[in-house]
């Protein structure tokens, strides 16, 4: 990964990572109105806008915490790109009419920032898809996969479920294969490729 110059607005990302109430308040005061306007002028409600805004901030938190996201553009532009991407996809999922009004021409960001924002949205959307597909699986598969995602050892999981270690491994690989195939079937429906 090329070294980028970190934008001073990284402080907002830092605030999300550290639950800084004062800066979060600033984020809402300064940046919420634009997102609200964008969503409301494009077939959405204030409720939709509040959801999109909140989810985008959590996506940025996740991306920073788990993927080391570093801003190379102003926070407002980045947040807006994530919100916009998310809203466009929601519209598509709901089969609502597409976006007619664009408000972000004034943001002139580099390609790196654009890619980072796209990735922030996509990684988090994928995580939601994976969870949604897991939740649709049979009870036994869910139990096995959920337990495997904790730090519990395979032997302990087998003991807890009352099965042999060999059976657990076989069952787990079957469940994972089913899950991955369900995920693949739904990627394009979720706007992911």
């Amino acid at each position: 990964m090329p070294t980028q110059i970190i934008h001073a607005d990284q402080r907002y990302v830092h605030a999300l990572l550290h639950n800084d109430a004062i800066i979060v308040d600033e984020i809402y005061r300064r940046f919420a109105p634009r997102v609200k306007r964008y969503v409301c002028e494009n077939n959405g409600t204030p409720d939709d806008a509040a959801d999109i805004f909140q989810e985008s901030l959590v996506d940025i938190y996740n991306q920073a915490k788990y993927k080391g996201l570093q801003l190379s553009c102003p926070f407002e532009a980045f947040l807006f790109m994530v919100c916009k991407r998310k809203w466009l996809n929601e519209l598509k999922k709901k089969g609502r009419k597409g976006v007619t009004k664009d408000l972000d021409e004034q943001f002139n960001v580099g390609e790196d920032s654009f890619r980072d924002a796209e990735k922030t949205w996509a990684d988090n959307e994928k995580a939601r898809l994976f969870l949604a597909m897991l939740n649709q699986m049979g009870e036994r598969c869910q139990e096995i996969i959920r337990l495997s995602m904790t730090d519990t050892s395979q032997e302990e999981i087998a003991g807890r479920l009352g099965v042999t270690y060999g059976y657990l491994r076989k069952k787990k690989s079957e469940c994972m294969a089913t899950l991955i195939s369900a995920i693949k079937d739904n990627l394009s429906k979720w706007g992911l490729t």
Partner: protein, 241 residues
């Protein structure tokens, strides 16, 4: 990809392969793009689910904090007529609910439903006051209210304007079944301009609820304006009353 391959992938990713078997599997991956891709998918899904399913208390705190700012999206100039109309509807709905509740022995204890949550520990700056507050928060969160009250009183002796300490002392009295002693603290907060202003109004209302005095309880709930964070909560309780 067959079942045997799936099991191999599972073992490869969980690190349950002997070195020789592993080397063989890796050489297969070199020449079989489908296998390579399947391993990558598997790793991506496992990594992502692992992150999603592991508890992240910090993220939960952030979500709560964000949730408390949601009202920013609903700010609109207050209109009198629709509110009045709404109140009429609410009043007639409340009459129905009251009639049902009158006969319904299943109604859970309202006070418990709305009781105080947790005392959020203050950010540490390393001062004496902070350490007192930290200890108070610990006692509060372990439901040891008498101990919390005595620590918070010490903080208030040092600085009687400390709204944070006063607010939580009020709540401690309330949870300690001393509603009458809770009110002076909470009223002082309500009369000030701290962030706890309307939360205080809510808990004063609860203090009356605790004494089964529904009229003052209602009066206090009505003091909470539409743009306060706890407006919905107050309205819900009003309806249940």
């Amino acid at each position: 990809m067959n079942d045997i391959d799936h099991e191999l992938i599972e073992r490869y990713i969980s690190g349950n392969m002997e070195p020789a078997e592993r080397a063989l599997f890796e050489s297969r991956m070199q020449i079989e793009p489908a296998l390579r891709e399947a391993v990558q998918d598997w790793m991506e899904v496992t990594g992502s689910l692992h992150r999603s399913l592991q508890p992240d208390p910090q993220r939960e705190e952030l979500e709560k904090l964000l949730q408390s700012h949601r009202h920013v999206f609903y700010k609109a100039p207050a209109k009198v007529t629709p509110i009045r109309r709404y109140m009429l509807v609410a009043a007639s709905a409340a009459a129905v609910i009251a009639a049902v509740l009158f006969w319904g022995p299943w109604q859970p204890d309202l006070y418990q439903q709305y009781a105080v949550q947790e005392m959020v520990s203050p950010a540490e700056r390393g001062t004496t006051t902070d350490s007192l507050l930290q200890q108070a928060a610990h006692h509060f969160n372990h439901r040891q209210y008498t101990a919390a009250i005595s620590l918070l009183s010490k903080v208030l002796e040092r600085d009687s304007a400390d709204a944070y300490a006063r607010y939580y002392r009020g709540l401690s009295y309330l949870e300690n079944d001393k509603p009458a002693e809770a009110r002076p603290d909470l009223e002082a907060i309500f009369n000030g301009e701290s962030v706890f202003k309307y939360e205080s109004a809510f808990y004063i209302a609860l203090s009356y609820l605790k004494e089964k005095k529904k009229d003052p309880c209602r009066d206090w709930l009505m003091k909470i304006p539409t743009d306060a964070q706890n407006y919905d909560k107050a309205q819900n309780l009003l309806k249940e009353l």
